[in-house]
């Protein structure tokens, strides 16, 4: 930068001081402006002595000028009382809890109002019932290829079972589907009518029950198809599409996520008798209590009996592994953030004292309760706020939403917990108010001869906090100085509570 830009800065600084003087009472304005301008000359000489302008120097000069606004505000009538009240309010533990509670209520209310979030949360309450497995022949993984014929399924279904109490079947094929926008090829699954009730899946949208004169069959639209083909229009459920030559009424929209193999666009629900015997598909089975006891891992080998009582080897895969719910994402991100926390801040509470004085047990319990309350409020905020962000619009409900939720949860938890710990370390152990009025004392160059760092004081007059500027072997962590009654004269004007 050039000297010309330096004069521009100087003009800006003078302008700031003049603006600040307008806030001062009229009878003192001229004298204040004169003093600020005189000091500005010295600040500039100290901070920016060279003709070449540096950003850092100009920043410091600007900070000095901005301080003039605070000076001017302090001069206004009752400013001291207002400032003190503001200080007391802003440092009180109740206000901290109140702010966190407000944030929690806001994020929770938002999650109830946003349809996408409501839907995602609803899915998390039970997208798929537990105890379900996908059955196929062991020649290939049932999750990747359909292997069971409808005839086999009908045979097993008809036989009494020890390990399974309910079955559903579906087969997948590419078919021509005609919608209001035209004709296209979709992946259509012909499923037994009990498939969704067996899964216990909550539909994203459900159409009202069809009238008695409605001859069309029922179908469930896939989540991604709903967004891709219909822009997530909530009026689509209840409308009719043509699959091949058959009219099909869309009864609802399936929940998002890869919860069943096949990447299906439309689930065509039919009675079991209507499923073509030759079709090859997937079998979903619900385990009995005995079946669950026998299943030790995510997969299990099954021996079934065919039509001629011949043994058939099958392979079952638990369906829970296919889904990743918002709460699972939250749990994982939370765990990672907590593991990373020591990397961004010290997890110590900084309870070291200059003397042997310790707060009483009730006060210590109170301090820990305050910490627990902050964490307890933060954790649901960390759940709901990223959920709002990731699923705020229904058309964004996709795998990208999961990543957005994951990253937002991780960052919010990491820096939220960091704030909780930093805030706790600066809370007076006696009254839980934040210590204020930081004063830089000493010089860094004298670290090894004397002490340098920052001192903060409790507005209630209970404690003085010493934070070393440069941690040394003899003064590495912050220390509290508990003030005795001899300090009372410093706080004679405050209405603080009694001494510990």
């Amino acid at each position: 930068m050039t000297p010309r830009s330096g004069s521009v800065f100087h003009a800006v600084h003078l302008g700031l001081l003049r603006a600040a003087s307008l806030l001062a009472p009229a009878n003192q304005r001229a004298e204040w402006l004169q003093e600020w301008r005189a000091e500005l000359w010295h600040v500039r000489r100290e901070r920016a002595p060279q003709r070449v302008v540096s950003w850092r120097a100009e920043r410091e000069v600007t900070l000095f000028c901005l301080g003039a606004f605070r000076d001017a505000l302090c001069l206004r009538p009752h400013a001291a009382i207002r400032e003190r009240r503001t200080d007391l309010r802003s440092t009180s533990p109740a206000q901290c809890i109140l702010w966190l509670a407000l944030m929690l209520v806001a994020s929770y209310a938002l999650s109830l109002l946003l349809p996408g979030v409501r839907d995602a949360s609803g899915a998390s309450r039970g997208q798929i019932d537990p105890g379900l497995i996908l059955i196929g022949h062991p020649t290939s993984s049932p999750a990747s290829a359909a292997t069971v014929s409808a005839a086999e399924f009908a045979n097993w279904h008809a036989r009494p079972q020890r390990y399974f109490d309910r079955f559903a079947f579906y087969s997948v094929a590419r078919e021509s589907v005609t919608t209001a926008d035209g004709n296209s090829q979709w992946t259509v699954a012909h499923a037994t009518a009990n498939l969704f009730s067996l899964l216990g899946a909550r539909l994203r949208f459900s159409a009202p029950a069809a009238g008695t004169d409605d001859s069309s069959a029922g179908a469930i639209l896939g989540c991604e198809t709903f967004e891709r083909e219909f822009d997530a229009n909530p009026r689509i459920p209840g409308s009719v599409v043509r699959v091949g030559k058959q009219l099909v009424r869309i009864a609802g929209v399936a929940p998002c996520g890869a919860w069943l193999p096949g990447k299906v666009d439309l689930w065509f629900l039919e009675p079991e008798s209507a499923v073509a015997p030759a079709s090859i598909g997937y079998v979903v089975a619900h385990l009995t209590a005995l079946g669950r006891e026998e299943m030790f891992g995510p997969t299990v080998s099954i021996t079934a009996y065919g039509a001629n009582d011949s043994a058939v080897d099958l392979f079952g895969t638990a369906l829970e592994g296919h889904t990743r719910l918002p709460f699972d994402v939250y749990r994982f991100a939370l765990l990672l953030a907590l593991l990373c926390l020591p990397g961004v801040t010290s997890v110590s509470m900084g309870d070291y004292s200059f003397n042997s004085h310790r707060p009483s047990w009730p006060r210590r319990i109170c301090r820990w309760s305050f910490l627990c309350a902050k964490v307890a409020l933060l954790l649901p905020i960390v759940y709901y706020a990223p959920l709002d962000l990731a699923w705020w619009h229904i058309s964004t409900a996709s795998f990208a939403s999961e990543y957005v939720q994951w990253i937002a949860t991780f960052l919010l938890c990491l820096f939220g917990m960091r704030w909780v710990l930093l805030d706790q370390r600066q809370r007076c152990p006696v009254c839980l108010r934040r210590v204020t009025h930081p004063a830089q004392v000493g010089h860094a160059s004298r670290t090894f001869l004397s002490w340098n760092g920052t001192e903060l004081i409790c507005m209630g007059g209970h404690t003085l906090l010493h934070v070393p500027g440069l941690p040394t072997s003899w003064f590495s962590a912050q220390r509290w100085l508990y003030l005795d009654s001899s300090w009372d004269f410093l706080f004679a004007g405050s209405s603080h509570t009694g001494r510990p």
């Binding site: 010295h42 600040v43 100290e46 301080g67 302090c74 004063a439 920052t454 003085l464 410093l490 706080f491």
Partner: protein, 105 residues
């Protein structure tokens, strides 16, 4: 009574800094590390409580040095008494901001 003045921690530091020879606002800020928005209002309060007094330097001095005249601050007798009682309760104060006579030669 000066010894009964309602002093804050900040005010005690400012009193000690003025006593130590830092008589201008910016010098006090430099010494104490307090920001400008804190130092000047605190000094005004100290002046109101008659613990310090301010005075503009003569225009001729400023003209000779080609700069604007500056306001400087001095401790009053009451201010010295208050500072003395503050030091007894806050021994670190003198070590943090050593006064002229206490500075090592």
């Amino acid at each position: 009574m000066a010894s009964e003045a309602k002093l804050s921690h900040t005010a005690a530091m400012i009193l000690q800094a003025i006593h130590a020879g830092y008589v201008y606002g910016f010098g006090i800020m430099e010494m104490t590390g307090l920001p400008s928005g804190t130092v000047y209002p605190a000094m005004r309060r100290l002046e109101r409580d008659a613990l310090i007094r301010s005075q503009w330097e003569r225009q001729s001095i400023a003209d000779a040095e080609q700069r604007p005249p500056r306001k400087y601050y001095r401790l009053t007798a009451a201010g010295r008494v208050t500072l003395e009682s503050t030091r007894k309760r806050y021994p670190l104060l003198e070590r943090l901001i050593p006064s002229e006579e206490a500075k090592p030669v």
